[in-house]
Symmetry: C2
Subunit: 395 residues, 2 copies
């Protein structure tokens, strides 16, 4: 066998999702694109804000030389300083360009961080439900995922968390606004989290790094999502512009390491080295140069909010039980039956495609993505009604 | 300590190169940019061919929707089919889009391949001198590098190679045109290599994959560099457009897996999975879309050829011993003294910056990069004369 045993077994494990995709394709061919409601993936249908095209045009038409060459592995000084200034303004902490490392999206940022931080068997704590790709990201470097339950409303359960922290805990990883639940951790919760991690870092005599995976940070509907930096010293952000600039295909994001992190200098140097030796080398040059020109442009959140409200009201009306998302573009309702896979298959029969909670380490639930045209969301509502009828949630 | 012991020791090991860079910076500040001859790195000074800017402008100005969204992890079907067709034409083998996986450059391609192929302790054979970053790429997945000597002219030494192949050999990795020597392996050598690997794969009952890392494939001065595909079934190409389109900062390349590879289907699926879970997700969208528009455009090789001839004639004239590079943009001459680090330091004293052979696993040599303005190369010639005088190579 040419391939590694780990990749071979991962291929086998990913067959469920592949089967789902194939079933979706089969149905689209059979029933027509417009009759299949694919609410399964988080690939925003909307275009990037106008500033993106304008800035890219300007950069391409410029006759500046050397703009496609290598730059320092961590990225252009100008781009990193721009992000550092933004973080300074936001947090009051002395971020400089050294604390910013440009990456190929948040997926790249997380891999770079785990490569930098983890020794084999070190543990990374995540909160259920969670993006299962974290398992692979952590496993790539011999680390172990330790998944902690959350409260009924998906907020942090500090008692459950404290029980799981041990001498092996190297990282606590949060994702707020959250995929798949849409919850946002408040200032109060982050303060409490910071206190617990500070206490545990002291107790075990080594810093527990808090990583915030926050590509949805600016996709919010009620109030801004708070920054982790003011709440804990050993804090690191891994993020991307995939969602707020609606350009996930371009792979641009960054790592920001708190200037107050206990091992701050080693971490900055280590992350640049990891970026290089994992073969990323640097984040794509053109997109790096675009960022300072684009400023704080963001996709229009109004269509997302309309979709959210439409779908939320309808889900409640037909009897589903669901937390209202304060950010991101997903719902994570309870499955009307324990077996979420069977439920998702029943929805598939109605040409409604969603992801089972098992795909987020939390059976008994399911995820609906709503980053699509409102018109499509509207047309999907009767299908939710029909599904609710099948499970006797509504007459 | 927050960071992993592996990254900590890698940081310590990379201090030599960092010191060199710092010394270069110090000298530039002290003596002026124009008085320091930095022939140490392979970051081409020339601009991409005109087709690049033209194609990017066209793509940015187009009002096509959805061009920055996620696409399949392996890349746009159109781009992959374009590359597959090119490989079909070149090799006569039935490449299709499934055999092509778009990557973030060759560094990304190699990491994806090693992740896909290697079990811990599997061996990857490389040929001295070689790009030391291979050590890290292979080590990331628990593999071991096994470095085989080459002949006096840096061509393959099949006897030495055969001795090193064992049941642990999973991959043989070649780089032709070669960094740092500039040698190209001929059709005859590739045929012989294919025969040996075929025989050894049978002997050990598992396929040995031949990976060709070939970003310099089109940077050639005498004859084209032959393809590996007609010479061996279990062949894989890892390449990038960094050198021939002079855009290393944009991170665009690909993996091509021979349709004749014994584990061809598993490998294609495994590589796509590895690309995803290493956090690359996909190669940058815009650059993928550019490739079919750019066609076979290539940087002008004439300045490289002029630099090569100038420098080669001068090196011989002042008494250095050197193989004439048939491709890439490096010389790898013998150091006049055994201790290449001391020699490189002496050159530094003359404001001439180069890389010691030790940086390529081959002490007693040094690397000169010539991807710079001819004017700078010309001004560096007297410094080579002075250096030769110091070592009594010339009067």
């Amino acid at each position: 066998m040419a391939i590694s045993t780990q990749i071979e077994s991962s291929i086998a494990n990913s067959s469920m999702i592949r089967k789902m995709f194939e079933e979706g394709d089969r149905r689209r061919q059979l029933y027509g694109e417009e009759n299949v409601f694919d609410l399964s993936i988080g690939n925003p249908i909307f275009e990037p804000p106008a500033e993106v095209q304008k800035s890219l045009e300007k950069l391409i038409q410029s006759d500046e030389k050397g703009t496609h060459r290598y730059m320092p592995n961590s990225g252009y000084s100008k781009t990193r300083q721009y992000i550092a200034n933004m973080l300074n303004d936001e947090t009051g902490l002395p971020f400089g360009e050294n604390e910013i490392i440009m990456t190929a999206g948040a997926g790249g940022a997380l891999n770079v961080l785990f490569k930098t931080l983890l020794n084999p068997d070190d543990e990374v704590i995540v909160f259920k439900p969670y993006f299962l790709e974290y398992n692979a990201y952590v496993g790539n470097y011999g680390g172990k995922i330790c998944a902690v339950k959350t409260k009924e409303d998906f907020q942090l359960d500090f008692e459950a968390l404290e029980e799981k922290i041990s001498a092996k805990t190297k990282v606590v990883l949060i994702n707020s606004p959250n995929n798949p639940t849409g919850v946002i951790y408040s200032e109060n919760e982050l303060t409490q989290l910071g206190q617990l991690l500070r206490q545990k870092s002291e107790e075990y005599g080594q810093p527990i790094s808090l990583i915030s995976d926050e590509p949805y940070r600016r996709i919010v509907y009620e109030a801004p999502a708070p920054s982790i930096f003011p709440h804990y010293e050993n804090a690191i952000v891994a993020t991307s512009y995939s969602k707020d600039l609606a350009m996930p295909g371009e792979r641009i994001g960054y790592i920001a390491i708190s200037p107050k992190h206990q091992d701050h200098e080693l971490l900055c140097g280590g992350a640049v080295l990891s970026l290089r030796i994992l073969g990323f080398v640097n984040a794509p040059a053109l997109m790096q140069r675009m960022l300072p020109l684009v400023g704080d442009a963001c996709v229009d959140l109004e269509p997302y909010r309309i979709n959210r409200d439409l779908l939320y009201n309808h889900l409640l009306k037909v009897g589903f039980s669901c937390v209202k998302p304060a950010g991101a573009f997903y719902f994570f309702p309870k499955s009307p039956i324990e077996d979420d896979l069977t439920f998702i298959e029943a929805a598939q029969q109605l040409n409604l495609l969603m992801v089972p909670g098992s795909g987020f380490g939390m059976p008994g639930y399911f995820r609906i993505s709503f980053c699509f045209e409102t018109e499509m969301i509207k047309r999907s509502l009767p299908v939710f009604t029909e599904l609710a009828r099948q499970y006797h949630l509504v007459d």
